[in-house]
Amino acid sequence: MAGIFNLQIVTPEREVFNRTVRQVTLPGMQGQFGVLRNHAPLVAALDPGMVEIWDDQDTELRMAIGGGFFQISNNQAMILADSAEMSTDISLERAQEAERRARSRMAGQMEPGHEMQRDRAEAALKRARARLRVASGR
């Protein structure tokens, strides 16, 4: 069948996903982008955010990833994610709770001289927001 390619999603701990898909949308570091069959060879860095997948049955799957990399060539696509969770595996309440925590920690690091902690808090907040977005289906 035309229009499909293989997508594999792996984290340091395990393989999360390995199927043929029709389309995938990714949170690139330089903006969101979509990938279809026969995409030119590409390596891209990903921000924490939402990965949207349309599989070969045209079912939409949403996944929250915690940043990572994307690589595609010869219709073999691979996402190297720091973490990856299916929307169905994320509890909305816990995601909200985590987002609140990340926000308050961020607020506590605003004074100068805490750049490293602030960067870390900001990354945590980004991850939390991504999970929340994926969980709430928006």
Partner: protein
């Protein structure tokens, strides 16, 4: 000679011990299998990561990154990975002896007075110690070494956020300029029966361009000989890739150390069970001999008494 009751009690004790060691052996075997599965499951990630570094390397010339920075070495950081628990044969002894020698050697090579100062102008320690596993911390603390940070062993569960915390602490002391080199003492997993303690240089990372020729990079399963588009540019990509590369290296070393621990424990417990079995055998022999001796003695008494009556 011990009484029959004493010997019987002793046999029972040894039997109980052998049951416990047998159980511990099974547990260690199961956990070893689980850790090996983890290593397998992590492979797609770490392999692709290494491939990516290989693909990017040739595209980047004169690349500089804080994690690659070679500095004149005045101070070193040493990370020692051991177990939380004992009863694993010579696993802890071997790695800690090696680490101890290594630490002392580094202290001789880098005397405290020549360590220079931190970017904030504070005097630096020439050797900074970090430990993973309670036994490592106990060992060095008891001998009067200052342990900078002590983490518990990651165990067979090996939660990745714990790995990340350890990795951050290691790279942190290098990036903030507290040390100029980092070494890791861990036990290489050769097989379930054989483990090899060693100290490896961990930071700065060897520049990936030095090991990868363009030809070798072209042969990766993904690459073929195609031209990749990089987004953002290759140097920027490498910049975000390297910290993760380091993290997966830490993960691998930690997992390997844990696998070695369970391998060593399995062997130790197999031996303990075997020894207990031998002891039961020899105790049973003593028991039977003593019983026979008692019977003979009683018989002699009876016969002697009967003779006396007749006479």
């Amino acid at each position: 000679m011990a009484s029959l009751r004493d010997i019987k009690r002793k046999i029972r004790v040894v039997k109980n011990i052998s049951q416990i060691t047998q159980a511990m052996k099974m547990v260690a075997a199961a956990k070893l299998r689980r850790v090996q599965e983890r290593v397998e499951r992590g492979k797609p990630y770490s392999q692709t990561m290494a491939e990516l570094v290989g693909t990017l390397g040739p595209n980047v010339r004169g690349f500089e990154h804080p994690l690659l920075a070679e500095r004149p070495v005045g101070a070193v950081g040493i990370v020692v990975i051991a177990a939380d628990k004992g009863l694993c044969g010579s696993y802890n002894t071997n790695i800690l002896r090696l680490a101890h020698q290594f630490v002392d050697r580094q202290m001789r090579v880098h005397p405290a007075g020549e360590a220079g100062t931190t970017p904030e102008g504070l005097p630096r320690q020439s050797v900074r110690l970090m430990t993973v596993g309670r036994k490592a911390n106990d060992y060095f603390t008891r001998r009067g070494y200052a342990v900078e940070r002590a983490f518990p062993s990651i165990g067979d569960q090996a939660p990745y956020d714990q790995v990340r915390a350890i990795s951050n602490a290691i790279t942190g002391m290098f990036l903030t300029g507290q040390v100029d080199e980092v070494y890791i003492c861990y036990t290489e997993f050769v097989s379930a029966l054989s483990q090899h303690p060693q100290a490896v240089k961990f930071l700065p990372i060897e520049p990936p361009t030095a090991t990868e020729t363009p030809e070798a990079a072209g042969q990766s399963t993904f690459g073929g000989n195609q031209e990749f588009t990089f987004e953002p540019s290759a140097p920027q990509l490498l910049g975000v890739l390297l910290p993760r590369f380091v993290e997966t290296r830490v993960y691998q070393l930690l997992l390997e150390a844990v696998a070695s621990e369970f391998g060593a424990r399995m062997t130790a417990m197999t031996n303990a069970t075997k020894n207990a079995g031998e002891q039961i055998d020899s105790l049973t022999l003593v028991y039977n001999r003593t019983r026979q001796a008692n019977i003979t003695k009683e018989l002699l008494d009876i016969v002697g008494g009967a003779e006396a009556l007749r006479g």
